[in-house]
Symmetry: D3
Subunit: 199 residues, 6 copies
């Protein structure tokens, strides 16, 4: 008889492995995030039963997101994640990266504004251009043109930044789909993070 899959699992529709059973490199990565956040975000737990995929996933994440440039700050990278994940109705990514965006932007409202209607969010023209092309790549990727990429450079992004916009959207296209497939819920801690004055 076939297994059944939970509609709303605690962590994932698939088996979860104890961090103690992970390869040493991943154990270190998991321990670091748990120490920094105060809890282990569910996406780490959900990927634990596939260590090779987990290692690749977090390596690519860090290469794109732990990075600050003149044209694209860490907070702005998070807003790209929020806008495109909202276009994909991905609860995990909207809530978890919304929390990180609130903290990195020190703005308790912006992430929600971007999640629900980025078009009217109080952002500079550069970020409006970024989010417009980012959401297009997320939802109708074949319609992205060379002119779309050029428009980002006209708003001051470097060639490296332009690549990063595309790669962040692409990486969260993957991430959103894994989260939907495994029905990974956001940890409750994320909902309130960054909403209070002294967070």
């Amino acid at each position: 008889m076939a297994d059944s899959y939970s509609a709303a699992p605690h962590v994932s529709r698939f088996p979860v492995v104890s961090p103690d059973d992970l390869p040493p490199d991943l154990q270190k990565r998991y321990a670091a995030v748990e120490e920094k956040s105060g809890f282990l975000p569910n996406v780490f737990a959900a990927l634990s039963w596939r260590p090779a995929e987990a290692a690749a996933f977090f390596a690519m994440h860090d290469a794109l997101m732990d990075k600050e440039s003149l044209g694209l700050s860490k907070a702005e990278r998070e807003l790209i994640v929020v806008a495109t994940s909202a276009a994909n109705d991905c609860l995990y990514c909207v809530i978890a990266h919304g929390a990180i965006a609130r903290i990195r932007s020190r703005d308790p409202y912006l992430a929600d504004q971007v999640a629900v209607d980025w078009r009217k969010a109080p952002l500079p023209p550069r970020m409006h251009a970024v989010l417009e092309v980012a959401v297009k790549l997320a939802v109708t990727p074949a319609e992205v043109t060379a002119a779309d990429l050029a428009s980002l450079q006209e708003h001051g992004l470097s060639k490296d930044d332009v690549w990063d916009v595309g790669a962040i959207v692409a990486f969260f296209a993957l991430s959103n789909r894994l989260a939907h497939w495994a029905a990974i819920p956001p940890n409750e801690e994320f909902f309130l993070m960054g909403r209070l004055p002294r967070d």
Copy 2:
């Protein structure tokens, strides 16, 4: 002044790095694929300017695609790529993975049938179920339900296979978007591979 981006570049809209300048691990991986294929597929060249991302990308690729199971053969994994990449109008992935699918399935017609209209392709009910859920996850991920995953297990896929279906779709959601963003064209060699009787 802003750089302009090519509408139809030879390899990528972004800089390409010589394999000689890659870190040793990647050099080995690149050399292996070039020896096996007789040429370096353009996606390798296009990712070369970002070695950390390239390493993660190919690690995840290999973890999901170089794998044969009772419920999901290597050829069938390629057909998932073909069907979902066609839903995203991704030339690189349809042509390159269509070629691999022809070789792995030893069928010169199936990949094109799946690319253009998987619904009428001569496949077993199991693969029709797989492709239906896979394309749903690719195009409207929020609509995937627990019942969709359970239906795959009822068709004989193991829990590992079910994860793989979702992870393959997710990985190529990323891959399709990178290929669109950088406008990576398929190498000409792919177009004819696996079409002749003794290929």
Copy 3:
């Protein structure tokens, strides 16, 4: 020369009238909500320049939302608003009614879960049926069938409740479009309401 319209106005793209200049009935209604909430929600201010429309708008709102029945609690009515307003990307309604839903449901997570992906929200089957039909009426109204209404009654809604589901969706189809047209932003107070244990 034509007036220009603000992309992100403080209260509305159209003129705002002081509550003192409203007809007595509306003044009373406005004062009541301001006293109860501690602030005047922006939709009241935005409608003030059209007193006849404002009176009709709040009369219909109250007839549908200030109502508790066995089949549809006040909190559940708010969740219908949240789910369908999210389908319309309406920031004002998602944030303001998300806040009210948190307070009425005494649940700090549910409104966000429903806003981003109602399909996976931890709700009883009755509310899943309600939200499925409600979102259909919001987005593709011609596809609603007699069987959809009957399914709600099978989940325990009375005929009055079934009407209310449709009328709430219809009323917020109006409300979402007014909020988009006038670009009414939610008051900042709404973002944090109902998120803290003792709210």
Copy 4:
């Protein structure tokens, strides 16, 4: 056992109340329309079991539709209703307001042209601009921009007219959904009204 709902009811899927049992104000409003039209339009009958909602509904209708301005005549307001109701496949509103549009425009063809394909209807540029923005607000409300509103003012609409365009679209977004929910059919009289030379 659950009630069943008629697929094609005579007046409504919900109970209909005799006008004699309505509150005095509504009785007067209903009698006036019946005297003017020679029959009671079904939307009046369908709303009769909810007097508070009916009163608000017709108050808002009259505030927006019984109004003539330089920038937006009564006939043109009806054409906005026809175009957006057609986009929602709402039989009641297309037929009833198509009839009123024929009478108010003294044109037996225009309403059908607008209902089926407003893009090619023989209308002045001002009305093409109005209908383009109106249909956008009806179907994809989040995509309406400040520039859309400004474009209407450039075509000669006053700020009051611009609000009216949005409010009419919003009100019929409500009306279309109520008509679909209750499956309210148009009275047969509407089909022929305004089609004959001396109507």
Copy 5:
């Protein structure tokens, strides 16, 4: 310098040829329809400059539409045209074939009901099944399945009737697109045909 194309031409955006200059066979066909209708429908005039295409077009039309069978009457064939042309927003076909449907069904309301919302039109289950599959073939043809065709036969259509459903939809997919391309307006006579008791 390039020609310009009329947004709303009298007969067509392309040249119109006098019937006297048509090949004898077409002249006869054109004369017959003009005698029967009392006027020459604009689609005949619009196709006149391409006699070979016109001959093929009307030959295919007559083979499919001038045909009565137990499972699909002439009036019902016209309703298929109305429903699918409405899905394509084709004014010419909705108005012209709506007129013919009114005459052939001796029902002054049915064609409008089918044009605006076939789902709620008072039709037998057989015709609901026919229109559901017909509109699917018109709008999302790849989604039609063998089971859709089988369902029509279960409703009493013969294999010939089932082909006719598909061929009628296919033929008007062509016809709708020609009418949009050339912007062919319906003759004014069509608007009133079949609406009066003794037509």
Copy 6:
């Protein structure tokens, strides 16, 4: 009992008639294509049971496709078929006309590039304009404007060429739907045609 329809028939879901039983004119047409191609393309066999429709179908095909003009070569006409048939997921037309396009363009790659993502195909601006308008007419015909037709003439197409673009799209809108309805598979010969250097 109802007949059932094959999901993946050898030639068609409907009866196939021997060429010997066709009217003499069609026999000649069928024999000519079989001699030229070396096999009878399945669409001929599938239409054989309806000789009047077959005669009209191939007459219209030849009038539009066996034609070379300065503004639109035979190969370019085939590419219009490939792009729009791909938008409709029509296997028969993509594969059969892809083969003809390869032969007529003497390019083994172009047809696949156009089928999967015409936007990035290495074509002159004229053909990009043609395919953009062609795909619009195929998918959302009501959105085609007079300006779209004028843009083609600005790219050097004559008025006759402009008509041909629309008529080719319209004809294959029909053809794609017949092929989906009857589930006509492409003959295996088409898959390899034109792919080898000396074809």
